[in-house]
Symmetry: C2
Subunit: 372 residues, 2 copies
């Protein structure tokens, strides 16, 4: 066992759910885990201490954004990303692939890499798999991701196949140049909604023996049942003893369904993003606290929620903060939404430990209004 290893503590007898621990040089990640997103080296509105206090073991930062601003030289001079932002726990960095394909203005995609223009200032950049690893080594994250080709939904079989093949070639190049011993690399399974391409991508990557495997290119517009189907026919091709990470997924229903299908790691901007316009996550669905109906509602978002926001503030006050454009509102809903999601993960882990995950899942989804 090196600095980094995955320990499965308990397996659910009725589903593929499992309880585990990812050991990293910077601490343990209890799985199934949700990673709050700190795109620009900050989980929006919160201090690192608050993120830790909310129960996050690990955060995700975006290579694309940090490469463009403040730039790798600054973060290198700071002594790496952890020191730059003063986050002491593990960090997972994505490779920038998803952002390059979705945010930037693409100029040219070739086997060599991707030429794109920055969404910030239009400057021209060229990212290769080697470059993506080089940047992540400078950032010094604990878990780095391979540079992959992300396809949109819908996508033809032919385009999806091309992307799978390129993603495998790029994955090999990423591994070839990776050298940090205190950082591991995860592969990313592509293949759009085609089971045979997902299987092929998974088998290709498993041959390369990554420290963990992500499933990319889902939650990009396809119906939820289709996503669950793809998980059903992808996870069996991934090794039992490596963590599995479903990228960009973070609603309660999707998390529960994906955990049941063997997923250990999640990340999603949703909890922090919708906090910005006054939307709270609750066990019965979304609550838009800025709505007029809450103007004189002096109950907390959820009377059963134990977060700082619900223990101290009313819907009426939160609504006032949003109407008045006060940042404290954004902060308090971020706290609530991250608490909701991280607390859900804690409950999931407890349920797996106590052999009642399936019951917990049914019970939770029973009271939950699923959107889209």
């Amino acid at each position: 066992m090196g600095l980094f290893h995955f320990e499965v503590i308990k397996e659910c007898k009725k589903t593929r759910a499992r309880l585990g621990k990812i050991h990293t040089p910077r601490g343990i990640i209890n799985t199934p885990a949700f990673m709050p997103v700190g795109t620009q080296a900050t989980v929006k509105t919160l201090t690192p201490d608050e993120v830790t206090a909310l129960g996050a073991d690990v955060i995700l930062c975006n290579t694309y954004h940090l490469y463009l601003r403040p730039g790798t030289e600054i973060i290198e001079a700071a002594g790496g990303l952890h020191r730059f932002m003063n986050w002491k726990g593990p960090i997972l960095t994505d490779s920038g692939g998803f952002q390059v394909f979705s945010l930037a203005s693409l100029r040219k995609v070739s086997d060599q890499g991707v030429e794109f223009r920055s969404h910030l200032d239009g400057s021209l950049h060229f990212i290769t798999p080697e470059k993506a690893i080089e940047i992540q080594e400078v950032l010094g994250s604990d878990i780095a991701m391979v540079f992959d080709e992300c396809v949109p939904f819908p996508c033809s079989y032919g385009d999806a196949l091309t992307a799978v093949e390129r993603t495998t070639r790029w994955a090999k190049r990423c591994l070839r140049v990776h050298s940090r011993t205190d950082q591991v690399v995860f592969g990313i399974v592509q293949g759009s909604v085609y089971p045979e391409l997902r299987a092929r991508s998974a088998l290709d990557l498993v041959n390369l023996d990554f420290a963990g495997y992500a499933i990319g290119g889902l939650s990009v517009g396809e119906p939820k049942p289709m996503m669950y189907g793809i998980l059903d026919c992808t996870v069996p091709f991934l090794p039992e003893r490596k963590p599995r990470y479903l990228m960009g997924v973070g609603t309660a229903d999707c998390i529960l369904e994906a955990v049941a299908r063997g997923i250990d790691l999640f990340d999603c901007v949703l909890p922090t993003r919708i906090a910005r316009n006054g939307t709270a996550l609750t066990r019965w669905g979304k609550l838009v606290v800025r709505n007029a109906e809450y103007a004189a509602d002096f109950s907390p978002i959820d009377p059963e929620c134990s977060c700082y926001t619900c223990r101290n503030f009313t819907r009426a006050y939160l609504r006032h903060l949003f109407k008045a454009g006060e940042i404290l509102g954004h902060r308090l809903l971020t706290i609530h939404n991250l608490h909701f999601t991280l607390n859900l993960m804690e409950k999931i882990r407890q349920a797996i430990l106590e052999d009642r995950f399936l019951e917990f899942k049914s019970e939770f989804l029973n009271g939950f209004r699923i959107t889209k």
Copy 2:
């Protein structure tokens, strides 16, 4: 001694500075004190707990803003402003006079009151001295202010005289309708930069026997030495055993000069407002942390500062947050700037206690670059 009284603990032998305690039903205000401003029922970006932890004994909230949004009905239904915003310490509310005269579109000023249009939606309102007190009684602040006529700078002697006479008449009407026994009212001395008008205004108000006296209409554009001169010839007309409050003043140099002239209370939006664009208050002057020169500066704002921001984050990281438009930057500078100001008050109180206020003042101002 009622629920509210002012206790002078120690007087400086070389200046008019004094150390005191304002006892209120919601706790003690150690003076000289600085009141962070929570205009819209929140000290911008911070939770009430954080404001307390920074050392604030009391905050100021703005009647004008709260009257317009969320409106007094909502705050009344919440059980008052303290419960609405979950601030457990004392609150001072201004009367709305200053905002009505500076923010709103004035329609008509008469002896009866002021007709104005809201700066939010243009709606028409009429505020009288009686109405200003009525609103503050609903808010339930611990210290309410009289409704005064604020004149701009410069202002003719005639206009200043008219405003002083009206302010006295309005002060009487405020007292006549005030009925809450758990709330006290402070008078506000006007008179622009005319010593004889200041004296007259002070004498008028002292005859009415307020619980405390504010000096209004300063720091509105007049040179600082002129403001100090007005304090020199106003304070002697105010009672020794009542707190004195210099409204809207909060830079370090002005606080020190005003404390030396017998002022006990201050409020100012400056520390929280300039935090928003990345300006930090320090013992040597202002530091604009968003400037390019700090891009790779990995020292804290002030290595000798003990605030949360300086103990945990570098100038380079703070600059990055501001360049990236991240709210955490605004928050961290608010913490630093309020710590700076509240810590200055603590040092002032300690210096008065130890009979070395004048030395402390000289020493501090010696290293301080005074602006304007």
